[in-house]
């Protein structure tokens, strides 16, 4: 059970630890150049719920923000697991994770968000390239749990560079491991076989693999294949929990949001009630219209198009892009 903070007088609820900070509980080598990281809530509480395909924003102590797919067990509400590949050209991000991040460190957390959800189907074909295995791991666990017919084709440069082979070993011949230095490029047409209405194809990996998959599934129904491109996005300078200013447009007041409080808390402390509920960026109750400034979105709700629009935010978790002042319709 999650622990619950002592009750308080009427006012904001505080029974769930803020989701915006996590502790690095474990760092473990998973393969050549790949470490697995387990994150927990510093207060020992539950972490926000997620489903296979979800990723989190990890705000590293050096100020870089990176996105990583969750690849742990969602039935354990108290831990997230991500796996990080060392990118050869990385300056911050993955290099920081490999060289500097230590167990016990605190990191910022955004999301989880899911733009790669697993849809129900009686049969799945999974294709992973390298570190692209990460979002597929919980999908595979789930497909197995519901008794779906599934097969994984897992490619990589060499066996030593391929993470989680040990965990996947228990699935026997449902898992086809194909290191490039042993078997060459993945033979997608042979793996996919004849198009079938009942099958969903999930693939994650580098661009050439996904391009090859697009060619190989040209004859499949358009809804069959779902892919996520693994790109090492680094958004430097963004995301750390710095203080920022919010102007409440209806009264013209400007308030400061400190490092250790949420925008929702700061607005509430200024005497303006914004109705909220989950306070984890999942329920959507506190949606607030943004008139000016760029929000640093940390919620689980808005998809990329919504974020691009930039016209609303969830002040229970989201903040301002450093340097920007937000003007809210409050």
């Amino acid at each position: 059970m999650s622990s619950v903070a002592p009750a308080q007088q009427s006012g904001p609820v505080a029974e769930q630890a803020s989701a915006s900070t996590a502790r690095v509980a474990e760092i473990r080598r998973q393969a050549d150049g790949v470490v697995g990281i387990v994150l927990t809530d510093p207060a020992g509480g539950r972490l926000p719920d997620w489903a296979p395909g979800a990723h989190i924003d990890l705000v590293l102590p050096d100020g870089t923000t990176r996105q990583y797919s969750l690849c742990g067990d969602r039935w354990d509400a108290h831990a997230y697991r991500v796996a990080v590949l060392r990118e050869p050209s990385s300056r911050g991000g993955s290099a920081y994770v490999h060289d500097s991040l230590r167990e016990g460190d605190l990191v910022g957390l955004g999301g989880p968000r899911n733009s790669f959800p697993l849809v129900p189907a009686p049969r799945y074909l999974f294709v992973a390239g390298g570190i692209g295995i990460t979002p597929l791991l919980p999908m595979i666990a789930q497909a197995d749990m519901v008794g779906a017919d599934w097969t994984l084709l897992y490619g990589g440069r060499s066996r030593n560079s391929m993470a989680f082979l040990d965990e996947l070993g228990r699935h026997g011949d449902r898992v086809r491991v194909a290191p490039q230095d042993e078997t060459g490029l993945l033979d997608l047409p042979a793996f996919l076989g004849t198009p079938r209405e009942d099958t969903r194809i999930y693939a994650c990996g580098p661009a050439p693999l996904l391009d090859a998959l697009a060619d190989a599934t040209a004859d499949w129904p358009s809804t069959s294949a779902r892919t996520e491109r693994f790109v090492a996005r680094e958004r430097s300078g963004s995301g750390s929990d710095s203080s920022f200013e919010v102007t409440l447009a209806r009264s013209g007041r400007t308030i400061s949001v400190g490092r250790d409080e949420t925008a929702l808390e700061a607005i509430g402390a200024a005497g303006v009630d914004v109705l909220s509920s989950c306070r984890q960026g999942t329920c959507g109750t506190c949606e607030t219209t943004v008139l000016e400034g760029r929000p640093d979105h940390r919620d689980s709700i808005l998809d990329d198009d919504d974020r691009q629009a930039g016209d609303c935010m969830y002040p229970c978790v989201s903040r301002a892009v450093p340097g920007d002042r937000l003007v809210l319709d409050l």
């Binding site: 059970m1 999650s2 619950v4 009750a7 308080q8 007088q9 009427s10 006012g11 904001p12 609820v13 029974e15 769930q16 539950r46 719920d49 489903a51 296979p52 969602r74 039935w75 354990d76 509400a77 899911n114 959800p117 697993l118 849809v119 129900p120 189907a121 789930q142 749990m145 519901v146 969903r200 809804t223 069959s224 509430g268 009630d273 109705l275 909220s276 509920s277 989950c278 306070r279 329920c283 959507g284 109750t285 949606e287 709700i301 919504d306 609303c312």
Partner: protein, 405 residues
């Protein structure tokens, strides 16, 4: 059952589903909260939570307290449900994921923006119809004329079901929410019509029945995209029709009853119409239209110093949690627009939290805004009458006098 384990919790012998308690659950809620964090209900030999802390903890712990064994007293592991189980309410991850994801997107605040203007206009139109433009003092029954009338005017259209047969929606919902309780006289009285109501409701979920552009048609579009299975679509539409009408009606009744009995709060709303959203949620906290739900332990779970054994049902008193002085302060029983009701569990909490909450809030905001514009003061003209339901706290009749501005 394992009485020694259960028996260590303080025992309450009152049946929470007897007519007397359903008519006024507040005294029992106090007794349950005072008895301890976990209480044994001897009538059903189950453990129950009535304090905010344990209710909240159980609601969010979907791993430990599952819904797929039913959210009523009936245990689907051993007993047959009366209808095919809901893909949302009565499901756990992973099966719960896709239906929830699809419906949450369709009912999200962003998606509802397109309805806002129309619903505000509809509310003004209804309020004008009810109060006319003659006498300055009008007597109404707020339930039939406003709180049932408004959701029935806007929601079925938004889903896209035909006009014919909409009178079945409220009785279907009423029976469904009764069936989450024990098989008492309320359930028995509903059973003769239950088959027909379920059959009618199920017919409204078919693709060819649903108007283009509505929530129902969008659910079918999600099936076409492969986001859900085709045979899941009708059951997801059914969820809208099951849980989307009665609950909103009772929430609206709650807020109008609250205002009629707290004229100072009505004056406050008229001064600050933007408080309509907070007012509705405060009424949902105060009245808790959905009073109770059950869960089933998936393993032996420690909570509140007791162990809930694997496979056992637990009963969560949402209404009691929403008035827990330990959480809300000494004035928890007061309806107060100055309170921040955020975090109440009237819509539940966690992955099963009411997926239609933003729809309900928009309906309430529209109706309250229209009423605040026309009505200076509301007062009761006679005793309000409760409608008894095993799950819902509702009014059958709210005779009110409106003094128009």
């Amino acid at each position: 059952m394992s009485a020694p384990t259960l028996g260590r919790a303080p025992t309450i012998d009152v049946d929470p589903f007897c007519d007397e308690v359903l008519a006024d659950p507040i005294p029992l809620q106090r007794e349950l909260r005072a008895a301890g964090p976990v209480v044994h209900l001897s009538t059903y030999d189950i453990l129950a939570f009535a304090r905010y802390e344990q209710v909240h903890a159980a609601l969010v712990d979907w791993q430990g307290f599952q819904s797929a064994a039913g959210v009523g007293l009936t245990n689907f592991r051993t007993e047959q449900p009366w209808r095919p189980p809901s893909l949302l309410l009565e499901a756990d991850p992973p099966h719960h994921d896709a239906p929830r994801r699809v419906l949450q997107k369709i009912l999200s605040p962003r998606a509802l923006r397109s309805l806002r203007e129309k619903w505000f206009a509809d509310a003004e139109e209804l309020v004008d119809e009810v109060f006319g433009h003659g006498p300055r003092v009008v007597d109404i029954d707020a339930v039939t004329e406003l709180t049932e009338a408004f959701p029935l005017r806007v929601f079925p259209d938004a889903v896209g079901i035909p006009q014919e047969g909409r009178e079945n929606l409220l009785p279907y919902g009423d029976h469904l929410f009764n069936t989450f309780g024990p098989r008492n006289h309320l359930v028995e009285e509903g059973e003769p019509r239950a088959g027909d109501l379920l059959a009618w409701t199920s017919r409204q979920c078919r693709r060819d029945v649903l108007a283009p552009g509505g929530f129902g048609a969008e659910i079918w579009s999600a099936a076409d995209r492969g986001d859900i299975l085709v045979d899941q679509a009708p059951l997801i539409v059914r969820s809208l029709l099951s849980a989307g009408v009665d609950t909103t009606v009772h929430g609206l009744s709650a807020v109008l009853h609250a205002f009629a009995t707290h004229p100072d709060q009505w004056a406050r709303l008229r001064e600050t119409p933007a408080a309509a959203r907070v007012a509705f949620d405060e009424a949902v906290r105060w009245e808790s239209p959905v009073q109770v739900f059950f869960r089933t332990a998936t393993r032996d779970i420690e909570i509140g110093g007791r162990t809930v054994p694997e496979g056992h049902k637990i009963l969560m008193f949402l209404g009691a949690a929403n008035r827990d002085e330990q959480h809300w302060g000494a004035e928890a029983d007061r309806f107060d627009l100055g309170r921040d009701p955020s975090g109440h569990v009237g819509f539940g909490m966690g992955i099963h939290q009411c997926v239609g909450q933003h729809v309900a809030r928009l309906e309430a905001e529209a109706l309250l805004t229209a009423l605040a514009r026309r009505v200076e003061r509301l007062e009761p003209t006679g005793p309000p009458r409760r409608h008894l339901n095993n799950t819902l706290r509702s009014w059958e009749s709210l005779p009110l006098r409106a003094h128009l501005a």
